[in-house]
Every structure is written in structure tokens, then in C-alpha cells.
Symmetry: C2
Subunit: 150 residues, 2 copies
């Protein structure tokens, strides 16, 4: 498959630094200095990643000005960026279960209204929970194969 | 955060080739030659990735023998590997929506029992669907901060 959506997505967000920048954006980080500090990135790496994620439309740059200071920019997740949250949540859930240290997970994500832990689930549009063995993969409209069929 | 589960997960599966090998494993690919062909990887790259994913416990090597042939091995997803499916599904869903070509998504994932499209959702243990704005992040037992508090 030449045009795999997984690969296309991975080409945009498939670096460690893109993931930690988006993680921080979801946690509410907006300003350059805070990204540098909280994502544990160097200034040059943070600037490059923020620029790329903005160019790819996952973050938007919004000007702000504090009294007596020059105009600066903060970075906010766009709809395209917010839509990445399930990827981050699924990675974290897998990491919590299969790659966490002996102390357990560093953070818990809970539903604010009821306090229960939040998990990533697969569900179909009819409202059924779907287990891995109940999935069927079908060709879609954009399928392009590497090799001629037959 | 020194021990972020997202980063830990990413260190194990955060390469394009690991993603396409796991994608193929989910699609039912088991044998080396098929991984090479379907994942569009070179033989050396496919062998290296299968070896790493086996060492990390996402795939297991199972011997098989066809009449008159030497023993060969196939690769099957373990529980740890199967648990990665939501990550792949979330990446694909994001790629389908935000990075697909004009022809639409190359594949559709449906619920075998009812034929409806399957999507990744966030849900809490009380059974509520959870929107991004309803999440709360809390410190977990394994939290280690970079900087002293206060």
C-alpha cells in the first residue's frame, strides 16, 4: 500500500519531539519557554518542532503582548491538533501497561465529571464495543496497491 | 517528566518501520517474505525490525516446517503486541481524516458483526463517553519530576 494513512500520519507526528510537544500542548502549555522547559527540549529543537507543527496545521501561533514587552506568540492546538489526542492517549495507555516502571504510571487521566479513569476503546457507529478479533479490514476508495492484482 | 509513558512507548514502537511491521501483523501477515513484500521494507530492515519487535515482546517467533524444507519461523503478535492496536487504529483514523489523499481513505475498518465503521473513542470506567475538554490529568504513583517542587 503506497498511501497508508498510518504512514502519512507518522510522517507528520512520528518523532519523539513532536509527541512531547503535542503532549504538553494538551496539558495546557502555550508559551515557548514553557515548551522548552516542560518538554525537556533544547531551544533550537523546540523552535523547529513548534514551527513544523504550526506549518502542518496542528498548532496555531497567536500573538500576545505583556505590558512593556514586545509582541510574542503562543501556540494553541487546532482542531487537527486536538484530533491527535486519541493517538497520544493510546500510546500512553500502552506505555502505562507494558512499559511503565515498577512504581506504576506517572499520570492518571480521569473523567472530570465522575473521577473514573479514561481509556481508549474501539467502537462501531452502531454503538457496539469491538474487540480486536471482531474487526474486518475492507478496501476503501483511496486504495492503491504496490503490485498489480492477480 | 522523566518517565513519561508516551516516550517509553515511543522508544519501543516509534519508528515508521515498526509501525508498518505491526500493521501487517494485525492484517494477518506471519512470514518473513510476506513482511518484506507487504511492508515495502528491504530484507535487512525487515529482519532487524522483526528481531527487535520479538526481543521487545510484541511478536513471538513460532517454528513451522513445510515438507522437504528446513524449519522456518513465523511471527505472531503477543498480548503486548495486540495491545498496540488502538495506537495503530488512532493513527490511521487521524491520517484518514487529516492526511489522506483526495480519493479518501485506502482502507476501512468495520465491525464484522454489523458492518459499521469502527472508531477510536475515549471512555471512562463508569461507561461515559469523554470529550477532550472533560479530561483531567492527575499525578500517578510513578510520577518523577525534572525539577524540585516549589
Amino acid at each position: 500500500m503506497e498511501n497508508c494513512s498510518i504512514v502519512r500520519a507518522f510522517e507528520i507526528v512520528g518523532t519523539r519531539s513532536a509527541m512531547v510537544v503535542m503532549r504538553e500542548a494538551f496539558f495546557g502549555t502555550r508559551r515557548f519557554d514553557d515548551f522548552v522547559r516542560r518538554a525537556s527540549l533544547g531551544e533550537a529543537a523546540a523552535a523547529a518542532r513548534l514551527r513544523e507543527l504550526t506549518a502542518d496545521g496542528l498548532l496555531e501561533r497567536v500573538p500576545y503582548q505583556e505590558p512593556g514587552q514586545r509582541t510574542r506568540y503562543e501556540y494553541r492546538p487546532t482542531a487537527k491538533g486536538r484530533a491527535l489526542f486519541p493517538v497520544i492517549a493510546a500510546l500512553r495507555e500502552w506505555g502505562d501497561t507494558w512499559a511503565a516502571g515498577s512504581d506504576g504510571p506517572p499520570l492518571r487521566t480521569v473523567h472530570r465529571d465522575c473521577g473514573s479513569p479514561v481509556r481508549v476503546r474501539l467502537r462501531c457507529d452502531e454503538g457496539h464495543d469491538v474487540a480486536l478479533g471482531e474487526l474486518e479490514i475492507q478496501p476503501g476508495p483511496g486504495l492503491i496497491m504496490n503490485e498489480p492484482a492477480g
